[in-house]
Amino acid sequence: MLQALTAPRTRKLWLLLGYAAAAAALFSAPLYLSDFRLNLLAKFLAFAIVALGLDLIWGYTGILSLGHGVFFGLGAYAMGMHLKLAAAGGRLPDFMDWSGVTKLPWFWAPFESFGVAVLLGILIPAALALFLGFFTFRNRIRGVYFTILTQALVIITVTLFIGQQAYTGGTNGLTGFTKLFGQGLKTDGMKTGLYLATVIVLIGAFVLCRYLVKSRFGKVLRAIRDGENRVRFLGFDPAMYQMAAFAISAALAGIAGMLFVLHVGIISPSMMAIVPSIEMILWVAIGGRGALVGAVIGAVALNYAKSSLSESYPEIWTFFLGGLFIVATVFLPGGIVGLAKQIGPLFRRKEAVHDQALNPVLRESNRSV
């Protein structure tokens, strides 16, 4: 019977059914979750969007970025600036007032418009990724060197954002938002609306990434992961592909950042720092790199674990979280999806899926030094 279930045609049906069920569960969440839990879930789903982008660049292209916090933060700041201006209602944002700024800085002005803010929230991270990628990928900086370089990017950005307190709000960041589209940000309708918008954006991002991965572009990305130089000798310029993937990934992080601000109501430089950037990687690693579903599952599951562990064991929860990272990366190298793939054959009674099915992904996403 199981064999019938796994026949090629029914396979597709099951897949569709699975996605449909997941989407239905997400769309109906406002009906059965409390405000607080819905807000949490919305935040996790925003994180899932970053995870998708990270999977694209790490899982599929083999480039580990520990700087996605920056892209996430830039998107979040774009939205934060818009909300701050909306809350100030034509006056100067409060923190500028205290810092002795008398006129709205020129680079704040465009964020008055929601559309422009959203556009910039996508374009600025993408542009920064292109800029960084233009140099680093063309100079063939890769592996751990690239990873460390992205950490330097984090330090630079965070230090600048903190230092320019008069223009960025410093360590406090931007908070105290009240309105969006002239509506109260805290009304029930707005919250549900923002949640549903996040679900839709997540599905959109998922579909986009799936398209990218299935296209020839995605195949070239995976080829780059397996052997960057080999791709070069086939006549492709890997730098261009890496830049494109990095920029798309950064743009997704920016979008996630914008949604995050809408749900959480604060963005500060600490959200761009090293720790959140590494956590983002862990979402993908634990979910299963090189599998888009894995990224989404990882982001939601890990953040859920973090939230509930810290609620239940506020004083020692980092023990469990740290332990989870260790166990997951050492003993579950394929993440949750990898586990499913390993368990899968047991049910199928067919030839066991050999490690190798997964190995290239792991080996190459590990290739660095």
Partner: protein, 299 residues
């Protein structure tokens, strides 16, 4: 003034080198992206703290000043032991998976922080420095070279020399290099790679412990101090070129000197930004660090 700044630059470099030396082994040679390196520094600091307390409570006051040399040994031993244990239980599953090692050791770091918090409490603790390290050498009016700084510079040189002798001039060191360069071949030649791996990681951790002990003289001792050092340590190793001791030295000197210089000219925050921008720019030029190991393999 320039003399003071030159000395400060040297001093900052020596501290950077001290925190990076251990990492240049665990990361540089073993390719383990050891995010728990900062926590080994923390372990060293706490070991110094415990040693001090033992001296305070168990020994006569006159013997107190002798605690510090003992603390250095204890710090090394404790960090070495924990490093050995960690290698045996966890790191050995991670060879050839550098990026997985990053994630797993990150988890180790979290756990170690929490362990420290559970044992010693969340607030910082204080270490009284031995009186023979108080004060400084007066070079001329207004220019004082603190003894602690001089001591750290000396300590780094000793560690460096010891490491050099061990890695390049001793039997175990040769075996270590053999294993790190070609694991299979070394195993064929009858080298116990398991033991070499364990020793190597433990030595790297032990040196981090010494760094922690020395840093207790000039910095804070608390559960999260490791986070203050970890990024700098990686920058030093990468800038110098992974796997090269001389590169690590050069990386530390470069970052330390430039940092002091920029900080003097501008502010601490901007100085930090400048240094990191410089690192990014420099890596564009020398993509594998200052002292790159050239290979001819395709990838």
């Amino acid at each position: 003034m320039w003399l003071t700044q030159l000395f400060n630059g040297l001093s900052v470099s020596s501290i950077l080198l001290l925190i990076a030396l251990g990492l240049s082994i665990t990361f540089g040679l073993m390719k383990i992206i050891n995010m728990a390196h900062g926590e080994f520094i923390m372990i060293g600091s706490y070991a110094a703290y415990v040693t001090q307390n033992v001296f305070k409570s168990a020994l006569p006051k006159s013997a107190f000043d002798a605690y510090f040399p003992v603390a250095i040994v204890v710090s090394f031993a404790v960090a070495f032991a924990i490093g050995y244990l960690l290698e045996a239980t966890l790191i050995r599953f991670l060879y050839g998976r550098p990026l997985d090692s990053l994630l797993a050791t990150w988890g180790v770091g979290l756990v170690l922080q929490q362990v420290a918090r559970s044992i010693f409490g969340a607030p910082n603790v204080a270490v009284t420095s031995p009186s023979w390290l108080d004060g400084g050498m007066r070079i001329m009016d207004g220019v004082v070279f603190p003894y602690k700084r001089l001591f750290i510079i000396g300590l780094v040189l000793v560690c460096l020399l010891a490491m050099y002798l061990y890695i390049y001039r001793s039997g175990p060191g040769r075996r270590m290099r053999a294993v790190m360069q070609n694991r299979e071949m070394a195993a064929c030649l009858g080298i116990s790679t398991r033991r070499v791996d364990g020793m190597t990681f433990a030595i790297g951790s032990g040196i981090a412990g010494i760094a922690g002990c020395a840093l207790s003289l000039i910095g804070a001792i608390g559960p999260t101090i490791g986070t203050n050092y970890i990024v700098d340590a990686f920058m030093v190793v990468v800038l110098g070129g992974v796997g090269k001791l001389v590169g690590t030295v050069a990386g530390a000197l470069g970052i330390g000197m430039f940092n002091t210089l920029f900080e003097w000219w501008s502010t601490a925050s901007l100085g930090k930004v400048f240094v990191f921008v410089l690192i990014v720019a420099f890596l564009q030029w020398r993509t594998m660090g200052l002292f790159a190991v050239k290979t001819r393999s395709l990838d």
